[in-house]
Amino acid sequence: MKKVFAFALVLAMVFALCAPAYADGAIKIGGTGPLTGGAAIYGMAVKNAAEIAVEEINAKGGIQFELRFEDDTHDAEKAVNAYNTLKDWGMQISTGSVTSKPCEATSAETYADRIFALTPSASSVATVTGKDNQFQMCFTDPNQGSASAQYIADKKLASKVAVIWKNDDVYSKGIYETFMAAAPGLGLEVVSDTTFNDGNATDFSVQIADAQSKGAELVFLPMYYDAASLILTQASAAGYAPIWFGVDGMDGILSLEGFDTSLAEGVYLLTPFNADSDDEATKAFVAKYQEKFGEIPNQFAADAYDVVYAYAQACEAAGITADMSAEEICDKMIEQFTSMTFNGLTGEGMTWAADGTVTKSPKGMIIENGAYVGID
């Protein structure tokens, strides 16, 4: 046993010695996300889209990227392990983690190690607060909550509102809190406020009955679409048809296999990306994604695609080369991201504040005849 161990150790050392000798002039981008487990749909979308973007950028011949994506199964501890693997590999810039909980853990590491990170989709505030080198491509949760309240009030969709949210999920809770803070000032009355969690995300009859009996005209659903699909199904069986209003987690509900899309008819959602858009860049991306992976890309994919392109733009502008250390790159990146303007699939004229949050305008969308249609 000891001999085997010693031999393995020797092998490991040999490989460790070999590793630095291998350098091909590509900047190493690393990221973690759930590639397996319940949230894998998001991690796979990010990984796939980032791969497409890296391929495209490398094909142009200028800046060269090398992408490595590790599985974190939407678990904070595994995300840190995955992050350490990436660090050993020599990651120079990071795409953080895909989902909020793991990203809160890895962002503390990237902050301590001075590795710049731009997460495509981890939207909780805690991922960026107090960390000068952590940036987001997506809206922060509060931004989504207040933007939703603003949108509902501006469009006069309803005055009596119900909220159903998931109380063991930072994403849902963050949106809920700012929605609740913004609602009274905008003349929205929240008549029903109910929750669920992982353990009881099957039966929503109580939450639906509460909203219905209190006369809510609109139900706000700050959650992912898998739970939302159950709520829509059960509300329809209970004969309740308010206006449904979702956020970016609702994106994907139409591609749910076997889902009766008529249930989602008339559902509003605020999201920065519309796969049906006529925009040339979006069309090309959607076509390529579909050809490669056989699916329509969701908003997470678009965010990831933008992350890689934003990196390309920033690296070019700052003259980053592959032989620079992560720390050097980090300082230059902070400078770039706080000053540059980026046009991507998920918005025109995006800018970043020093706290790492992005400014871009969400697009209101409604589901009509089984497709997302932009309202504005």
């Binding site: 397996t36 487990g37 319940g38 949230a39 894998a40 749909i41 796979m44 109380n167 109910t194 929750t195 669920f196 969690n197 992982d198 353990g199 009881n200 995300a201 099957t202 039966d203 009859s205 109580v206 939450q207 009955a209 509460d210 009996s213 679409y225 898998d226 739970a227 699909s229 159950l230 199904t233 069986a237 209970a238 004969g239 591609s255 749910l256 296999e257 076997g258 889902f259 009766d260």
Partner: protein, 300 residues
């Protein structure tokens, strides 16, 4: 009237817990092991039925039968490969193995069927004027009962009666009870303990398939982790009712569902799970063997 509606929701959720709990308690009662992979066999059953009905367009009855057959075989294979070699090992080793099997099934399902949620077809619905109706209404639509609830309760009762008759009347059933009392003595009496335990797993897994179909008919979002949470709740229900007791599983399941929904409706949606488990703790403090459980005194 809203109270009645909540009660019905509670019964419908509880009947799902009950049918899962029956499988748990059956295997525990005889093989004396907690098959934590039970929830995941449920998930496999639901996927098989989904594939047969939604993908291959087979009639629901064929889908359900296919699920039962696949799960029964799966249950026997799991037993043969994972549990049988541990027959002489401590119960802790078997428990950990069961957790391992549970993860294995979940991850195998992720590879096979991808993590993207699938919506289970409405098997128990009739078409009225081109619209699918999944339940019936009483008192001018004030009370709504879904067909799945009725079918689940009927299925629970049938399974309960059949299982009770099976274990008390048939030769195999009697052999099972003998094994549960004393494996060694049963073997001396000429009972093939290995085969008997294999049969127990086959039956338990067949029940899991039916539970899977009913679970996903009631709550149609199907993902590879679909079975795990209801599985744990159903296990709680089985303990609540007295693990090993067949009627106990039924009552435990129903009560758990009703308490969960009423706690949500009248106390707090945030606190419902805490309340459910608080009730469980209180019941176990007062009756450590569960509501209908047999108290076994240890001979020292």
């Amino acid at each position: 009237m809203s109270f009645l509606n909540f009660l019905i929701s509670g019964i419908s959720l509880g009947s799902i817990y009950a049918i899962i709990a029956l499988g748990y308690t059956m295997v525990y009662g005889i093989a004396k092991m907690l098959n934590f992979a039970h929830g995941d066999v449920i998930m496999v059953g639901a996927y098989v039925c989904f594939l047969a009905v939604s993908k291959s367009g087979l009639p629901p009855v064929v889908g359900i039968l296919a699920a039962v057959v696949v799960c029964t075989v799966l249950g026997m294979v799991i037993e043969k490969l994972a549990y049988k070699p541990l027959r002489q090992a401590t119960s802790l080793a078997v428990l950990i193995t069961a957790i391992g099997v549970s993860y294995f099934l979940q991850n195998a399902a992720l590879l096979l069927w991808t993590p993207n949620p699938k919506i289970f077809p409405a098997l128990f619905a009739r078409t009225v004027d081109g619209k699918k109706v999944t339940g019936f209404q009483l008192f001018d639509g004030q009370l709504r009962i879904s067909y799945v609830t009725v079918i689940t309760i009927i299925a629970c009762i049938i399974i309960m009666v059949v299982l009770t008759l099976f274990t008390s009347r048939t030769r195999t059933g009697k052999a099972m009870r003998a094994c549960s009392e004393d494996k060694g003595a049963a073997q001396l009496m000429g009972i093939n303990v290995d085969t008997t335990i294999s049969i127990t797993f086959a039956i338990g897994s067949g029940l899991a398939a039916i539970a899977g179909v009913l679970l996903c008919s009631a709550y149609p979002t199907l993902v590879p982790t679909t079975g795990s949470m209801p599985g744990i709740k159903a296990f709680t229900a089985a303990v609540f009712g007295g693990i090993g007791s067949i009627p106990g599983a039924f009552i435990g399941g129903l009560l758990l569902g009703v308490i969960e929904i009423l706690a949500k409706a009248y106390i707090s949606t945030q606190m419902s799970d805490a309340i459910v488990f608080l009730v469980l703790i209180i019941v176990l403090l007062v009756k450590p063997a569960g509501l209908l459980g047999k108290k076994i005194s240890e001979k020292v």
